[in-house]
């Protein structure tokens, strides 16, 4: 069988005519030599009015009028658009090849797969299953196991075994208090930066990425998309947006880059805004779940606040920003048992990327804090934030948590963990801090990817909105809790 793709005669004639017109153009010809794209392919692109190439050729092609009239005369011979005619021909060819090459074995019974597929996509069973998966996967495994048990173990090990040793060694070998503080004591590189990275962030991120890989490899994520598509439409999003949003529960930086897969500019904007504002990253999520899980009311208030903000901001932005509803389409792959090795290597790769990303920043943060303390800038900033802390009903020490949050969301959350453990925050203050810190501006890394995806103007606008909004919500929440005398 010949593999030459022959289009309907009228199209072939059109191709020949355009090819001969193109061959008179030196610029185009040199292009074909350099990129080894054949004239035939270029002619086909023109027939389909491929936007990028069309624009290019419009500027420098002397025979553009002739080419256009060729295209028109070819189009007049078909009732379908040329794009479709060409695609159909290709598709038929592909099917012919498939038929000759693929041997169909006796149909294996897809009973089990079909049963589970129905279970996941039927709204009656699908939504409870989704909640079940989130409850056990995220809340139980990441929140209670990762952020609770694992963090406490490793953190305890650091506090009892590593920090005292480091403090002792630096005290012996470095005679100056200032130098000691850089490495050890309350804000040292090892006692704070490395401890945050290894004892608090690492277990949470690992457990989260493990769950995420499982969800991805089983083929469950596209099924969540199709379930939530209708619910997302009022927010100006399609079901597709659930994937960056779920990824955002891991790391907002990665997720902001993934919003590229969304269809329209409008959808990308809304998704990045929600990611920056509402969606906590895995470290935040883990720490907050871990701290609040002892108190169901506090957890409900935190979740409720985020839910209301998510819906409210989503619906409002969808109303304000012009543009059409994006359509939803997605291939649903078969459900599969994930391959253990695949899960492990995927999780390993992601955790490695993450740790590599943060370790430097955490060390840098320790150094900044050290410099800040030394020069008094840190104290100045804390004092600047102090009135806001008073408005939020928070102790003065909480300001440092928000300062950390500027560096990395997870760093701030880890700071909150420390504050609560040392008894500085009470129940109400913990809830207010948790909500404000979750809404609070994206960290430096996410800020960078925001900049890359949305440009300077949008990023600055978004960030200043988020900053004011987060503190306003924190303030109102504190007032409400005081008025209704909610105690934890």
């Amino acid at each position: 069988m010949s593999l030459f793709l022959r289009y309907p005669t009228a199209i072939e004639e059109g191709i020949t005519k355009i090819e001969s017109l193109l061959s008179k153009n030196k610029v185009i010809m040199s292009m074909t030599v350099n990129s080894s794209v054949s004239r035939r392919s270029l002619a086909l692109l023109l027939l389909q009015k491929e936007p990028i190439f069309w624009k290019k050729i419009q500027q420098q092609e002397p025979y553009i009028v002739e080419i256009e009239s060729v295209i028109q005369s070819v189009q007049s011979q078909f009732s379908d658009p040329l794009i479709l005619v060409i695609a159909k021909t290709r598709h038929q060819m592909a099917r012919k090849i498939e038929e000759s090459a693929v041997v169909k074995l006796k149909k294996k019974s897809p009973e089990g797969e079909d049963f589970f597929h129905q279970l996941t996509v039927n709204p009656i069973t699908g939504f409870p299953l989704l909640i079940f998966v989130l409850y056990f996967g995220i809340y139980k495994f990441v929140g209670e196991f990762g952020a609770g048990i694992l963090v406490n173990q490793i953190e305890g090990f650091f506090a009892n075994n590593i920090n005292p040793v480091v403090n002792q060694i630096t005290a012996q070998f470095l005679p100056w208090k200032i130098a000691q503080d850089l490495i050890a004591n309350d804000y040292g590189i090892i006692t704070l930066g490395v401890r945050y990275a290894i004892a608090i962030i690492f277990p949470i991120v690992t457990t989260f990425f493990l769950v995420l890989s499982l969800l991805e490899d089983s083929g469950y994520l596209p099924r969540i998309s199709l379930l939530v598509d209708r619910l997302f439409k009022p927010l100006g999003l399609s079901g597709r947006a659930i994937i960056p949003l779920i990824l955002g529960l891991g790391c907002g930086t990665m997720a902001t880059l993934v919003t590229r897969t969304l269809e329209s500019k409008r959808e990308r904007f809304i998704a990045t805004l929600l990611l920056a504002l509402v969606i906590p990253c895995s470290a935040q999520l883990g720490i907050i779940l871990g701290l609040l899980s002892q108190n169901p009311l506090a957890l409900t208030i935190w979740l409720g606040c985020l839910g209301i903000v998510f819906l409210g901001v989503g619906i409002l932005t969808a109303k304000v920003i012009p543009g059409n509803m994006s359509s939803f389409y997605m291939e649903i792959p078969p459900l599969r048992w994930p391959h253990p090795m695949g899960i492990v290597s995927k999780t390993y790769g992601r955790v490695k990327w993450y740790i590599k990303e943060i370790t430097g920043l955490f060390i840098l943060a320790s150094i900044f804090i050290w410099i800040g303390k030394l020069t008094g800038i840190f104290e100045l900033l804390v004092n600047l934030l102090n009135p806001i802390m008073i408005d939020l009903g928070l102790p003065k020490d909480a300001a440092s948590v928000f300062l950390y949050g500027f560096f990395r969301r997870d760093y701030g959350a880890a700071g909150m963990f420390d504050l609560y453990n040392s008894g500085i925050l009470d129940g109400r203050q913990l809830v207010v801090t948790a909500v404000t810190l979750t809404l609070f501006i994206p960290c430096i890394a996410q800020f960078q990817s925001l900049l890359r995806e949305q440009g300077l103007k949008t990023t600055l606008g978004m960030t200043s909105f988020i900053l004011t909004f987060a503190f306003c919500i924190g303030y109102s929440l504190n007032q409400l809790l005081l008025i209704f005398e909610v105690s934890f």
Binding site: D80, P81, I83, L84, A87, K88, H91, V121, N122, P123, P222, S225, L226, L227, V228, D229, R230, L231, K233, S238, G239, M325, S327, F328, Y329, M330, E331, I332, P333, P334
Partner: protein, 83 residues
Amino acid sequence: MFTQTFTVESSALNLLKEKEKGIITQFRKNDELLLKKLIAMGIMPGLSVTIEQRFPSFVINMNGTRLAIDRNLARAIYVRRTR
């Protein structure tokens, strides 16, 4: 006296009931963007589709490939109902 195995009834895909089948005949005209999307997904005139589910999104099956589309896209695809 003729046992008809297909109908000539043409309808938009979103009007088919669950488990009903059809052969794609054409797409809504004058929508280049939509056409490109459909082509990219491999939805082509001449293919047979089965509706697997209508809510919350449309799930269609074409030769064993499962696709989820929203109502808007389903409305733009016209099919000839088959049995």
